[in-house]
């Protein structure tokens, strides 16, 4: 009777943390904001969140079955995408627009590229960009907070950034309103209190690396100040906090190198403020992160860490080397 021992390469024990654990922790961190969104914008917000999460999970299952890949909905990544997509839509978004968004996020942006770990763009943001191009009327609307949760009539109003963009001086929101989220906007971007609580949780568990959101927010605040805006108002307006802590930090679509992360965050900050001030849209978070997503492979290449025992950093070596042939 022969027996077998397990044979594998070292190391022979691993940390307990796993990718699914990270994703579900992100879900937990997003829940307070989901609740806040429903309190501020009423039941339509709950409806959008539900449709978005259900669409994303269903699309993940169906595309994985179609591509004959293992079904991995247990890893929670589709739920995260569903929540984030809902958070950047107004509560007035029709359900079929949400469904188009969810399918775009999971099928177009994630599974067509190879599934979790292989997508280039943040699925939720890319889906938002798809909807922005296809159905601008629905997704550009910013819904006004409701007086009762049970209210079903979504009324649109100018967001803080709309007001700034259009020069509507008479629409002004206090910093308190901006912080607690009782202002018009996408359903999950307005309540900074719950977003920061969730972010703190993720920082505590080392899921969110501050080397991305801190440069992002700092650069955005500094540039806003240079453009003559109140930096605090600029940070608390729109989707900056949501984007900086939950979108730009998406593991797959952000750099893995320490300095790559810092430059990525700073780049997002610059692009966000440039779009806010010169672009055609009132808000620049979505496109700034998507643009920086494109730069991730370059950033990771340019900011390779210094190899132990080498004097010059890999960065300088790469810069000095003649172009081409590096992919050999």
């Amino acid at each position: 009777m022969s027996d077998r021992f397990v044979i594998s390469s070292s190391p022979h024990f691993l940390t307990r943390g796993n990718t699914a654990g990270i994703m579900w922790l992100v879900v937990v961190a997003l829940l307070p904001t989901a609740v806040a969104g429903v309190i501020i914008f009423g039941l339509p917000a709950a409806f959008v969140i539900g449709v978005s999460v259900a669409t994303c999970v269903a699309t993940e299952v169906l595309s994985q079955l179609a591509f004959k890949r293992p079904v991995t909905i247990k890893d929670g990544s589709a739920v995260v995408t569903g929540l984030l997509l809902a958070f950047i839509l107004p509560s007035s978004t029709p359900f079929w627009v949400v469904i188009v968004g969810g399918v775009s996020a999971i099928f177009l942006v994630k599974q067509l590229f190879g599934g979790l770990g292989f997508n280039i763009f943040n699925p939720a943001l890319a889906a938002r960009a798809v909807l922005q191009t296809s159905f601008p009327v629905f997704v550009n609307a910013t819904t006004r907070p409701v007086h009762s949760i049970l209210s079903f009539d979504a009324v649109t109003a100018a967001s803080a950034l709309n007001a700034i963009k259009e020069g509507t001086a008479n629409v002004h929101y206090s910093l308190g309103d901006l912080f607690f989220g009782t202002v018009p906007g996408a359903l999950g971007e307005t309540c900074k209190l719950t977003l920061l609580i969730g972010a703190a949780l993720l920082v505590l568990f080392r899921v969110v690396d501050l080397r991305i959101p801190l440069p992002y927010i700092a650069v955005a605040a500094l540039l806003s100040w240079i453009f003559g805006r109140d930096p605090l108002e600029a940070v608390l307006s729109g989707g900056l906090i949501l984007g900086a802590f939950f979108m730009a930090t998406d593991l797959v679509t952000s750099p893995a190198t320490p300095w790559g992360k810092v430059v990525f965050g700073a780049g997002c900050g610059i692009l966000t403020i440039v779009i806010r001030n010169y672009g055609g849209f009132p808000e620049g978070v979505c496109y700034s992160i998507l643009l920086m997503n494109c730069a991730v492979p370059l950033l990771d290449k340019a900011f390779r860490p210094r190899v132990f025992g080498t004097r010059t950093s890999a960065l300088r070596k790469t810069a000095a080397a003649p172009k081409g042939g590096s992919e050999a």
């Binding site: 397990v6 044979i7 190391p11 979790l116 050999a328």
Partner: protein, 488 residues
């Protein structure tokens, strides 16, 4: 960045040292049979100088080194040579030429006394190095690099300091810890001998902060030796406490932590004026020089969550893991005893290892037709860098610091890399392990070389921290192997 006594990156895995750290070293009764591989070190293998039927004494040389980077091997028991043939080896994945010695059960006077007490202060540096070479001493920390080579810096390189490695950063292992507690005088003598062999005056013993008892004891012994004049006035031997962090005991990381200097990529410690020796090596040097005793036994930590009675055991080189495990009470659990006494076909197991090179999950690799009945993993060395064993017939060799049996219930499935960057943050060599893993998986070895794969010391930190359980070390080894093949 993290203060002087440390280095960049690294992790702090669960230590599991409590299993054996308070257990005094016990001696394994002389085994009836030993299998002594002719290759136990980094460098060229030995040539057998005994034949079947020869009677050998304990400590008699049975394998002669065949080059400068080589170390002779000696009979670890008295008896008769019964075979000179290829046998399973704990490091190399194929059987290697070995000398098999059997003692007669009735031989009572088999154990040599080793009672000499040579005054090493009368010896020259050259004769000390010769004795070290003849005793077959190699690095006892696991790498098994011949010690006399390390003591012979190339011309033009000035050595200024000897670093003595007592970090023992691998989880579970407590051999160096126990040795420092129980053989402190001998270790310090060994350090002084090494200083003489190198013709230098400065030695620093680096010990991780989780072994303060050993550090305090050595400091006390150093004070006494200084008072007694055994450490000369111009000599300096001191103990430095290191942060508890893996891989603190890696040679280059130890130098960085103690002296703040980085050994150039691809270079040796000579290049920053340093020689590093393990505390176990210092002890072996003492025995070789003062007692004329060749390296025929060593301390091995037998531990792991599946070992009945974990222990620190003084073992003859060539003792089978089977005998060693039996001495430690075997394996726990209902079918544990069976697992310890069962033959494992070597060829099959090798096939397993090769096939798992491309499959992701460590556990899945071992299941050809049926799930493995016993989910045990036998490891020579520590859990971070040790080697999984396919047979208990493999022997203890000079570089065996530990033998672990772990239950493999805690393997997690390998999923896609999410580029979280944890491996990049923790890699002590400053590499991008996720990138190397991805490139190796695509067989793009040229790109692996461009991403400095040769600077990887396979410490295992990247695989350890990976939330996706990617077999990064495995993929990196695979890339290195293929790059080496391409060179040939």
């Amino acid at each position: 960045m993290f203060g002087r006594k440390s280095f960049r990156g690294g992790v702090h895995p669960p230590e599991h040292k409590h299993l054996t750290q308070n257990k005094p070293i016990v001696t394994l009764p002389t085994p009836l049979r030993v299998v002594i591989p002719l290759s136990q070190h980094t460098g060229s293998p030995c040539r057998a100088i005994v034949a079947v039927g020869d009677e050998v004494n304990e400590g008699q040389k049975i394998g002669e080194s065949t080059g400068f980077v080589s170390a002779p091997v000696h009979a670890s028991i008295a008896g008769t040579v019964v075979a000179v043939e290829s046998r399973p080896h704990p490091v190399l994945a194929f059987p290697v030429p070995s000398v098999v010695i059997e003692s007669k059960p009735d031989a009572t006077a088999a154990t040599a006394a080793w009672t000499k007490n040579i005054d090493w202060r009368t010896l020259t540096a050259e004769s000390i190095k010769d004795k070290i070479k003849e005793a077959g001493i190699v690095g006892m920390g696991g790498a098994a690099f011949p010690t006399h080579v390390k003591l012979s810096p190339p011309p033009g390189k000035t050595i200024r300091a000897l670093l003595v490695n007592g970090a023992e950063c691998e989880p579970y292992l407590t051999t160096d810890h126990r040795l420092m507690l129980e053989r402190s005088d001998e270790i310090l003598e060994g350090v002084l001998i090494l200083l003489k062999a190198l013709d230098i005056k400065t030695a620093v013993i680096g010990i991780e902060k989780n072994k303060t008892d050993a550090a305090d004891l050595l400091r006390e012994k150093i004070r006494r030796k200084e008072a007694a004049g055994e450490i000369a006035g111009d000599e300096s031997v001191r103990v430095a406490t290191l942060k508890v962090k893996y891989p603190q005991g890696a040679e280059k990381q130890l130098i960085k932590a103690l002296l703040g200097r980085e050994v150039p990529s691809g270079g040796l410690p000579f290049e920053v004026g340093v020689v590093v020796q393990n505390v176990g090596t210092a002890f072996a040097v003492y025995e070789a020089v003062v007692k004329d005793k060749p390296l025929i036994e060593r301390v091995v930590t037998v531990s792991g969550d599946a070992v009945a009675e974990p222990a620190n055991v003084l073992v003859r080189i060539g003792t089978s893991f089977r005998d060693l495990l039996a001495f430690a009470g075997g394996v726990t659990g209902s079918d544990g005893a069976a697992a310890a006494g069962v033959e494992v076909p070597g060829a099959e197991a090798q096939g397993v290892e090769v096939s798992s090179a491309k499959t992701a999950g460590p556990a899945e690799g071992a299941a050809p037709a049926e799930k493995p009945r016993a989910g045990y993993k036998m490891i020579m060395g520590g859990p971070m860098m040790g080697l999984a064993q396919y047979t208990l017939d493999a022997p203890v060799i000079k570089g065996t610091s530990g033998f672990l049996v772990l239950k493999q219930g805690d393997t997690k499935p390998s999923v896609a890399c999410v580029k979280c960057g944890a491996c990049v943050d923790r890699c002590p060599a400053g590499l991008m392990p996720y990138q190397l893993g991805n490139l190796s998986e695509r067989n793009d070895f040229a790109a692996c070389a461009e991403f400095n794969v040769k600077d990887c010391m396979e410490c295992g930190v990247c695989s350890f921290v990976c939330p996706s359980a990617r077999p990064l070390v495995h993929l990196i080894k695979y890339a290195k192997l293929n790059l080496a093949k391409q060179k040939k």
